[in-house]
């Protein structure tokens, strides 16, 4: 047995990353970021609002949470839509109680289909960021560049039409991108994307269409990962978030730089009756911590952008 000799060629073996999207950087030795009101930790809540067609498209891949059974999959279609009818309102009330503004990552199909919900979100002062068109619009290498550009444009146009403002941020379904995505997002005027989970703070990416910020939306701290994938309890989820906050707050104190606690929340997961009391208590606990603030992605991006030069 032998491998193609090219398998032992290492074309990108050099100092720095093996791509040009962003340079390596040590969180602890780069200039610290200070938050606008001197907060030690900003909690950035990102709520996914997703519409799953009952006719799933598995190309290039099936979105997490999508239909599972033979057609028609009523159980998944309706339990995902539960999040858009009921769960999201529980979350909005909980945010309101805690005085928190969040970023809502929305399929443009949500805006087209449920304008009343969009109004409630906008009136409450939350940010809306783009999250593809619907849950069939997954991105990965293999999607033609023109098709990806068109999907991004359709998502932004749909959201802009309903909300009256162009979204500043973008979250890909399952945080999955193609090699073209960062440049296409920059070209479309997106200020920040949330897909790369390699840091605890925002940093700048460079694309052929100019710069774009990445706000790392920690997937390990998401309700999907902890509650659905790892099958842990809501009590454990809340404990893990509190532990994360405690650690980041201590680090902010010793390093003098602000920290970001990225919480990705899903209405059809967290917004269930039996989970809400603990989630509300978590938000109230966070709200009561000294040096803590809630911020939207746009606020964090604006602050980081000014400081990153």
């Amino acid at each position: 047995m032998t491998l193609d000799p090219a398998y032992l060629d290492y074309a990108h073996r050099r100092e720095g990353m093996d791509h040009d999207l962003y340079p390596w950087s040590n969180l602890f030795s780069r200039p610290p970021l200070a938050w606008p009101n001197g907060e030690k930790v900003l909690s950035w809540i990102v709520i996914d609002l997703e519409w799953f067609p009952i006719t799933p498209d598995a190309k290039p891949f099936l979105a997490p949470g999508h239909m599972q059974t033979a057609y028609p999959d009523y159980r998944h279609y309706t339990s995902r839509d539960y999040g858009n009818r009921v769960g999201i309102y529980r979350l909005l009330d909980a945010l309101d109680k805690a005085g928190a503004k969040a970023s809502v990552a929305m399929n443009s199909a949500i805006a087209d289909r449920y304008p009343a919900l969009v109004r409630d979100i906008v009136l409450a002062g939350h940010e809306i960021i783009a999250h593809a068109t619907d849950m069939n619009a997954t991105i990965a290498t293999g999607v033609a560049e023109a098709d990806e550009r068109e999907m991004i444009a359709a998502s932004l146009a749909g959201l802009t039409r309903t909300t009256g403002a162009a979204p500043r941020g973008w979250l890909s379904i399952a945080r999955s991108q193609s090699f073209n995505t960062p440049a296409l997002l920059a070209e479309a005027g997106i200020a920040y994307c949330c897909d790369w989970v390699n840091d605890d703070l925002p940093y700048r990416m460079t694309t052929s269409n100019g710069p774009i910020l990445n706000l790392p939306l920690n997937h390990e701290l998401s309700d999907r990962q902890i509650l659905n994938v790892q099958q842990q309890s809501m009590a454990s989820y809340c404990e893990q978030i509190r532990d994360a906050f405690d650690w980041l707050a201590r680090e902010a104190e010793t390093s003098g730089g602000g920290r970001m606690l990225a919480l990705n929340v899903t209405p059809y997961i967290t917004g269930l009756p039996y989970r809400m009391a603990e989630f509300e208590a978590l938000l109230m606990w966070l709200a009561g911590q000294p040096g803590h603030g809630f911020a939207t992605g746009a606020q964090i991006a604006a602050s980081a952008d000014a400081q990153l030069g």
Partner: protein
């Protein structure tokens, strides 16, 4: 190994009961070593015909960037905490990290950590290599680590745990002392090789943070309790036998803000217990070999 045979012939059976005891220094009952995997994964590696690098088409953004978290954030948290509690690392190193992020390698070297090879990249697998190709990656590993750190590697953990039937024979021939790829015992054991003198160094998959979090789906605190129970048991039994406990880590996992605090309790517990010889893999190998004399 005996290629193609049902028993690969890696070692002799030796029951745990009534073995000669390994006496660790200063009457310690368990030798504890922490093994941070300092890795570099490629965004767009070439395909190995026997194993996919990434589950998704490249770029696998979450897979890649999650691991990249280690070199930007996780390592620094983990290393500072280990130093504070008196734990030196024994590094399972993707040696190309010496080129890509020399700062991480220099930091570990300055802290007095030991390095062994975990291949060139954790996205290049040994499956399918011929002997000449496998020699190339072994020689590359020895040369790269020596140039970057001044250390001569003494051990091997196959890249992404991918082996060939020749790997153990070859690393022994190149003078390496231990392999971390065999999981048959809680003590070092002689390994049968064509030449040289190789021993198995107890590493662990069962209490590896990757298994803890993604095979057993433990919460951070459950994982910390698991390590403490593993330690307590091995420290108890080690009074009779002399045991080894390895804590294999990936800082993109253990260095996350919701996990690192719970992990600190583990280091605190072991450091305070008094029965642990907190050391490095090469020191364990030296002590074992000196005590056992030349192994077969």
């Amino acid at each position: 190994m005996r290629e193609g045979e049902a028993d690969p012939g890696l070692y002799d059976y030796l029951p745990y009961r009534d073995r000669p005891k390994i006496a660790w220094p200063d009457g310690k009952t368990v030798a504890v070593w922490v093994s941070p995997n300092l890795e570099f994964y490629e965004l767009d590696p070439p395909a190995n015909p026997h194993r996919k690098s990434w589950p998704k088409p490249h770029p696998d953004v979450v897979g890649y960037s999650h691991r990249d978290y280690a070199n930007r954030v996780g390592h620094w948290r983990m290393a500072e905490m280990m130093e504070e509690h008196g734990f030196k690392g024994s590094v399972s190193l993707s040696v190309a990290l010496c080129q890509h992020v020399p700062e991480v390698v220099e930091n570990a070297n300055r802290l007095g950590w030991e390095f062994f090879s975990h291949g060139i990249y954790n996205t290049r697998y040994s499956y399918g290599m011929d002997e000449a190709q496998e020699r190339l990656i072994i020689e590359d590993s020895i040369r790269t680590v020596r140039e970057a750190t001044g250390q001569t590697i003494r051990g091997w953990l196959a890249p992404a745990l991918t082996h060939t039937p020749r790997t153990l024979d070859l690393i022994a021939e190149y003078g390496m002392t231990y392999t971390c790829d065999l999981y048959h015992d809680d003590q070092p054991m002689p390994v049968a090789t064509r030449s040289g003198q190789l021993i198995s160094m107890p590493y662990s998959l069962e209490v590896n943070d990757h298994y803890g979090f993604f095979i057993y789906n433990m919460s951070p605190r459950e994982y910390a309790q698991t390590l403490i129970r593993q330690y307590d048991r091995l420290a108890d039994e080690g009074a009779q036998s002399g045991t080894v406990m390895c804590i294999p880590l990936h800082s993109y996992l253990i260095g996350q803000p919701h996990r690192i605090g719970a992990f600190e309790e583990v280091l605190r517990h072991i450091a305070a217990d008094g029965r642990a010889w907190i050391t490095r893999s090469g020191d364990i190998a030296d002590h074992y070999l000196a005590q056992r004399g030349a192994v077969a």
